[in-house]
Symmetry: C2
Subunit: 240 residues, 2 copies
């Protein structure tokens, strides 16, 4: 990769920083910030051990740069749906789920964004606060708006929030639990090759849930094995 040019010709000089960012994105996605070693990153980038310190200051600064870039790449390639007037809330909902899944599972981006985010959630670094403010909270607000429209005033803010978490939980499951899924269902894939299937299921499941929610949230039951608030047999609350 570097034999065609001398080591310090301009193309190669710019390339070292780029190679470090690429290698670091892979390593951080694979093993997380703490377990990643700058020696491994530099080896994959074909650079010297001191390169990270020289080009980025230290390992943490490289990480935040990778985090920012991967997030930017994911949203650039798979942006949130733009609010086209005339779209039904159901259509906006499906588009939201689909783009979310794409960003998080995209094989073309090596699922780096999703895997880095998953690690950041289980083992937060100092970069998480900015990430929440700049990426996650807008995302949550977008989803909240869609679900509010879907509910058409049939539920309070708390229920709306819980519905949002039910949706995001379904999506992130395929990202957070890959190691378990591959062991539980060997042979089955849960990458973006299954994008259409996963989008269709999560959309159908969630829309049926939101449309079918009882108008007033039932009070919580206390006994461990008490009656669910659910309907008896035959009642299919798909009122529509």
């Amino acid at each position: 990769m570097r034999h065609a040019v001398t080591q310090t010709d301009p193309a190669h000089q710019a390339a070292t920083r780029r190679a470090l960012l690429d290698a670091a994105a892979d390593v951080f996605a694979e093993v997380g910030f703490r377990n990643a070693t700058v020696r491994d990153i530099c080896r994959r980038a074909g650079a010297n051990v001191a390169a990270v310190s020289y080009h980025f200051g230290d390992k943490a600064a490289l990480y935040t740069e990778v985090l920012t870039e991967q997030s930017r790449l994911a949203y650039a390639k798979y942006p949130n749906p733009v609010p086209v007037p005339g779209l039904t809330p159901e259509q906006r909902f499906q588009a939201f789920v689909r783009s979310f899944l794409q960003r998080v599972l995209s094989a073309e981006l090596h699922a780096r964004h999703g895997r880095i985010m998953a690690r950041e959630m289980v083992e937060p670094t100092a970069a998480l606060d900015r990430l929440v403010a700049e990426a996650i909270r807008p995302q949550a607000e977008l989803l909240r708006g869609i679900i509010t429209d879907l509910l058409k005033g049939r539920a309070d803010a708390e229920t709306t929030r819980l519905c949002g978490m039910s949706v995001v939980g379904q999506i992130l499951f395929y990202c957070h639990c890959q190691p378990v899924l591959t062991r539980l269902f060997p042979g089955a894939k849960f990458d973006d090759g299954e994008l259409d299937r996963l989008t269709a299921h999560i959309t159908a499941f969630s829309l049926a849930a939101i449309h079918g929610l009882p108008d007033q949230p039932k009070p919580a039951v206390h006994a461990p094995t008490t009656l669910p608030p659910a309907a008896p047999k035959g009642s299919r609350p798909r009122s529509h």
Copy 2:
């Protein structure tokens, strides 16, 4: 005279081993296997650095013992619902969700089981295979049976599996994404103090979804922003 046991086992000698297991459970839950240090564990246990090596062989063996014990404790305190004849699938479903949430969020057990499992999923150790075989797969089978009953033959095996993952995804969300949740909703708690609320929501959401699923799974859509399966009116695919 002692009994047939030739080895010495007064309560006092067993105390160090016990203290190590307790301290290790806390530390592993807080920072994960890789980031945990035996020095920290031993300090909290009031033991010497060499204690882990002496009593358990090495750090990894201590970890698998902690993993096994915490799983056992969680299931002992909050067992899966026993299949009482006469219970509706809806009742069995709610009991499943509730006990799952309890095991994973229990403050009394310091949420150790859930936090350790969350880390094990994002960063698997050699212990994950056994964990899947002994704990996770039976759990998945139990849920699959309940959902099969709920669906009453209205969906194929693949849809049943996807529904199970939608349910588990909702539950694990509160366990996997705590750091984000506390930043996104400061002041809100998502621990087992909210057990009733979370159980009620996940149960109502999922039952409405499962009861409301279309009888035949729709074919997956292919265009990135095409119609959702439930589009009332004004359906006009976006061109972009």
